[in-house]
């Protein structure tokens, strides 16, 4: 057993967990933050993406102990109170989700993509950057649209809008 302490969605948490506890299980089971999902067991699908110290990571591929001392943001912590993050709002406006299962990971990845490219995105870049996130419902069409729209809203410029 190991004691882990981290900041999750702005709140400091400290718990004793099994050494082998994955961060995703720590979030889902120990903190009851069930918005982060598990869609595979090979680190491929991206349903579990959260932000660790501001960067997107797959929470199924890191131990809770490795995240000791870090700051984690999950989908539950993305909105500013009642006000949705622009990408959350864009997913709704552009119908970027259907069953909703991949959505938290998609949004957390999307926020990271927009951040890393400082909003300077085109469709091709978004599609390649989404390599690590699988959606079975949407065909990605509206996810790409939502990310481009949010990037434009957040940074004012998008080189080439999706159809």
């Amino acid at each position: 057993m190991v004691t882990v302490t981290m900041t999750v969605n702005g709140r400091q948490v400290s718990k004793e967990v099994e050494d082998r506890r994955l961060l995703v299980d720590f979030l889902r089971e120990d903190l009851e933050l069930t918005g982060t999902h598990v869609g595979c067991d090979t680190s491929q699908c991206g349903a579990c993406v959260v932000h660790l110290d501001g960067k997107a990571i797959k929470s199924c591929t890191i131990l809770a102990a490795q995240a000791d001392g870090t700051s984690i943001t999950t989908i539950e912590g993305l909105a500013d109170g009642a006000e949705l993050h622009p990408l959350q709002a864009a997913f709704k406006e552009h119908h970027g989700l259907q069953c909703g299962y991949c959505t938290p990971g998609m949004i957390m990845s999307g926020v990271d993509i927009i951040r890393r490219h400082e909003g300077q995105l085109d469709e091709d870049t978004v599609r390649h950057e989404l390599e690590g996130n699988i959606c079975r419902c949407t065909g990605y069409h509206n996810i790409v649209k939502a990310i481009l729209a949010a990037a434009q809203e957040m940074h004012g410029e998008v080189r080439q809008a999706a159809e």
Binding site: E18, R20, R28, L33, T34, G35, T36, H37, V38, G39, C40, D41, T42, Q44, C45, A47, T74, I75, E76, L78, A79, L84, Q88, F91, K92, E93, H95, L97, Q98, C99, G100, Y101, C102, T103, P104, I107, E123, D124, V126, R127, H128, L130, E131, N133, I134, C135, R136, C137, T138, G139, Y140, H141, N142, I143, V144, K145, A162, E163
Partner: protein, 790 residues
């Protein structure tokens, strides 16, 4: 039209919980005292199960119980069944092998469960499952459906000699043979429809609880049809009596057919909850999903199409072997028969059709309905044949289709279906125009200058949705009726709850169903709540599959609204001292037409509940229900154009553009319909160029058992799609809807393969058209051409 009524592009009401991480899926549920289940699964494709030694497992930390198949059978838990009876052409019933939820004697596919471990945590359950010692006696296995029929191969079930499930036919064989022998031209193809794994992103899960004091069961499960689950679990599997079993399917993370069926894990968890007195949860991982979710497709077909001298089809003859896997899943028997062969007329006027289907057992996971279920297989056969015939006949592919289009409705095909409405020319013209089909030659030449091979392919699909009426499907062997139920409850303040037997797992029912109510009763959609997925709340329902929730589910709501509207009008007429026929309901008001006399909708609703002043004989309250059974299947149809570029050096295919023109009848929410089509196209492209489920033919091991080996479509595999709709109103239901959920998966694969084979000028190409296969086909085509020239 109401502002957020029928036809409005309304953002989804359900989205907020999903985009903020507040969706509630089965694995998110926890109940007091809940324990965790892990299954002990077969590492062999075919083996006898000897002794099961669980002593070491029982002594592991946190382990509470280990249960086996022999205990399950001893407790009288029934075998899993296929609920659709299909008879062979000799009149004998299908040969259904016994399928216990935990196998006590023989396992027949890799991953089949033989025992279950219950422990305090999931990790402890899995650790213990790893050390349950099973004495396996491996048996020879067979996985290839084309080789599994007959005596000289491994036999799976004593009930099915030669592994044959049925040998079924439809249509007139003698007439088809005669037409083929007299034809001016015959196109003949051998066609494989590749096996797929559905891959809903949420793995299956089940949480079962037993209340001994009440003798009551609750099952939270990843289901597309919780009422069917309750019926089957009680009436057939003897796990719990129906009135003592509550089945809840909360938010469900995609289904695509795979969550229609009642699986061994759900049966075992319910049984275990009672046996141990513990609430138990099982959540499958992706590996278990690959091994045990019902797979899709897997047909081997020979097709022959006869043409006269005017390029009109005179007959179509099809011989198909359908792989069922190791057991007959819940609706498996209907998929390669009544959902497949009945669509082999496509959009064409074909006087004679004969189709023979042999269902076969193999040592693979069970196969059942997956998005489209039979109709993608039929469309792939028909539309590969049409494109190939056009090439052989030297006719432009759109022209050969036009020559053979059905143009008058209703149209009775030779294979049961009676098409009620359609305009195939309209969707074809729309697709050709949107894709600039006419300008393709220039684009091909331009691509050639860049060293790329450009191809274009067409597909004109038809499908049948709704799977109804009940009397018709009953006569074809369905064990259930395929109607839908609805209840419309108007509250005293005028807000409305709609209880529906349909189940939403991505389709957006909470929005579209509310739009129908808004349109009809003049209330904003925010004043409408849609209740579904809980057998304690909704009395009964058949669930969501076969693109039926609009055409059947919403029609039931429409019928219930009719009754609410009639009662509200009668009450309003009484209160306003007007004639019932003069009352109209719109914009939150109940008005006497042509006058300024009116009441607020909420005032009428309140009056129904105060009951101070009701018309003579009227009961208080405002709540009505309906069971709706459609008049016919519905027939969505459309035309898809795919344009590709192949890199001749690598064989890699890039989809340059994909155009869909669909006729779904009346559309409630265009945004949601487009989303359904996008997703269907992606799955169709997946089948065409990426996805293929491969078992090792010797060992029966699943080779493609993870996302490392099974190529799911990713964002960069796909372009943005150009989708549009044409509209012929469906005459068979009150809303005029046809259904849109499966079209993309049905119409897409032949369009893609027709495009690639056009690009590489070699028609001999199977799905998935991976770069290696395309590269080899390109080389083989060039060699064949060189040899022909020499």
């Amino acid at each position: 039209m109401a502002q957020d009524g029928i036809g409005a592009r309304v953002a989804r009401k359900e989205d907020k919980r999903f985009i903020t991480g507040k969706g509630r899926y089965v694995d998110d549920m926890r109940v007091a005292g809940m324990k965790h289940v892990a299954f002990v699964r077969s590492p062999y494709a075919h083996a006898k199960v000897g002794g099961i030694n669980s002593e070491q497992a029982r002594n592991m930390p946190g382990v509470l119980a280990v249960l086996t198949g022999s205990e399950l059978v001893a407790d009288g838990i029934g075998n899993l069944i296929c609920g659709w009876m299909v008879h062979s052409k000799d009149g004998t019933p299908m040969n259904m092998g016994a399928w216990p939820a935990l196998a006590p004697e023989v396992v027949r596919f890799v991953g089949q469960a033989v025992a279950m471990v219950i422990a305090e945590t999931r990790a402890e359950a899995r650790d213990a499952a790893d050390v349950v010692a099973v004495e396996w006696e491996e048996l020879p296995a067979i996985t290839d459906p084309a080789k599994a029929l007959g005596e000289g191969v491994p036999q799976l079930h004593p009930e099915a000699k030669g592994n044959l499930i049925y040998d079924w036919e439809i249509g007139d064989k003698a007439a088809a043979d005669k037409a083929l022998s007299e034809a001016a031209h015959v196109t003949r193809m051998e066609i494989v429809n590749n096996r797929l794994v559905p891959n809903a992103m949420e793995p299956r899960a089940a949480l079962a609880q037993y209340d001994a004091a009440e003798d009551h069961f609750t099952l939270w499960t990843t289901s597309q049809n919780p009422h069917v689950a309750r019926l089957v679990l009680s009436a057939f599997y003897n796990v719990a009596p129906e009135h003592k079993l509550r089945v809840i399917a909360p938010d469900v993370g995609g289904g695509f057919g795979s969550k229609i069926f009642i699986y061994p894990e759900e049966v075992a968890c319910l049984w275990a909850a009672r046996k141990t007195g513990l609430a138990v949860k099982w959540t499958g991982d992706r590996s278990e999903a690959f091994l045990t979710d019902a797979h899709g497709r897997d047909h081997v077909t020979v097709a022959e199409m006869a043409f006269d001298a005017n390029n009109r089809i005179t007959a179509f003859k099809i011989d198909t072997i359908a792989n069922f896997g190791a057991y007959m899943s819940l609706f498996s028997s209907s998929v390669p028969t009544y959902l497949y062969a009945t669509l082999l007329s496509g959009q064409y006027d074909i006087p004679t059709i004969h189709c023979n289907v042999r269902g076969v057992y193999t040592n693979t996971a069970p196969v059942d309905a997956y998005r489209g279920a039979g109709r993608p297989e039929a469309t792939y056969v028909v539309e590969r044949m049409m494109e190939t015939a056009a090439r052989e006949l030297g006719v432009a592919p759109p022209e050969l289709r036009r020559t053979n289009f059905i143009r008058e409705f209703p149209h009775q095909t030779p294979v049961i279906m009676n098409y009620d409405a359609g305009d195939y020319e309209a969707s074809l013209s729309a697709a050709l125009s949107a894709s600039d089909y006419a300008g393709f030659g220039e684009r091909k030449a331009e691509a050639a200058r860049r060293g790329k091979l450009r191809g274009i392919g067409l597909s004109c699909y038809i499908e049948a949705c709704g799977i109804a009426p009940s009397q018709a499907v009953g006569s074809l062997g369905a064990g259930v009726g395929l109607w839908e139920s609805a209840e419309v409850r108007v509250n005293p303040v005028g807000t409305i709850e709609v209880l529906t037997g349909s189940h939403s797992h991505g389709q957006g029912h909470e929005t579209t169903f509310a739009q129908l109510v808004a349109e009809r009763l003049g209330v904003p959609i925010d004043n409408v709540s849609i209740v579904h997925g809980d057998t304690d709340k909704v009395q009964f329902g058949m669930g969501t599959y076969g693109s039926r929730s609009g055409a059947v589910g919403m029609s039931a709501i429409s019928k219930a609204i009719d009754k609410v509207e009639a009662k509200a009008k009668k009450l309003a007429a009484h209160l306003l001292e007007a004639a019932e026929g003069d009352i109209e309901i719109a914009d939150g008001e109940v008005r006497v037409a042509g006058t300024d006399k009116k009441l607020g909708w909420h005032e009428v609703c309140l009056a129904a509940y105060t009951a101070h002043n009701l018309p003579e004989g009227m009961e208080p309250g405002l709540k009505e229900g309906s069971f709706y059974d459609p008049a016919n299947f519905t027939f969505p149809a459309g035309a898809y154009v795919c344009e590709v570029e192949v890199d001749p050096d690598t064989g890699h295919t890039e989809i340059i553009q994909f155009v869909a023109a669909d006729d779904f009848g009346r559309i409630i929410n265009p945004m949601i319909v487009e989303g359904q089509v996008h997703g269907g196209i992606a799955q169709g492209v997946g089948q065409a160029i990426l996805e293929g489920c491969i078992y090792d033919p010797e060992s029966g091991q699943l080779i493609t058992a993870s996302y490392n080996d099974y190529a799911m479509p990713r964002a960069h595999d796909l372009p943005s799609f150009k989708v549009s709709t044409t509209e012929t109103i469906c005459p068979s239901n009150p809303i005029g809807m046809k259904g849109c959920g499966e079209a993309g998966a049905i119409g897409t694969p032949p369009a893609v393969i027709n495009a690639i084979t056009d690009a590489i000028d070699n028609n001999d190409l199977s799905m998935p058209a991976t770069p290696e296969k395309v590269w080899r086909a390109l080389r083989a085509g060039a060699t064949a051409m060189r040899q022909a020239a020499e």
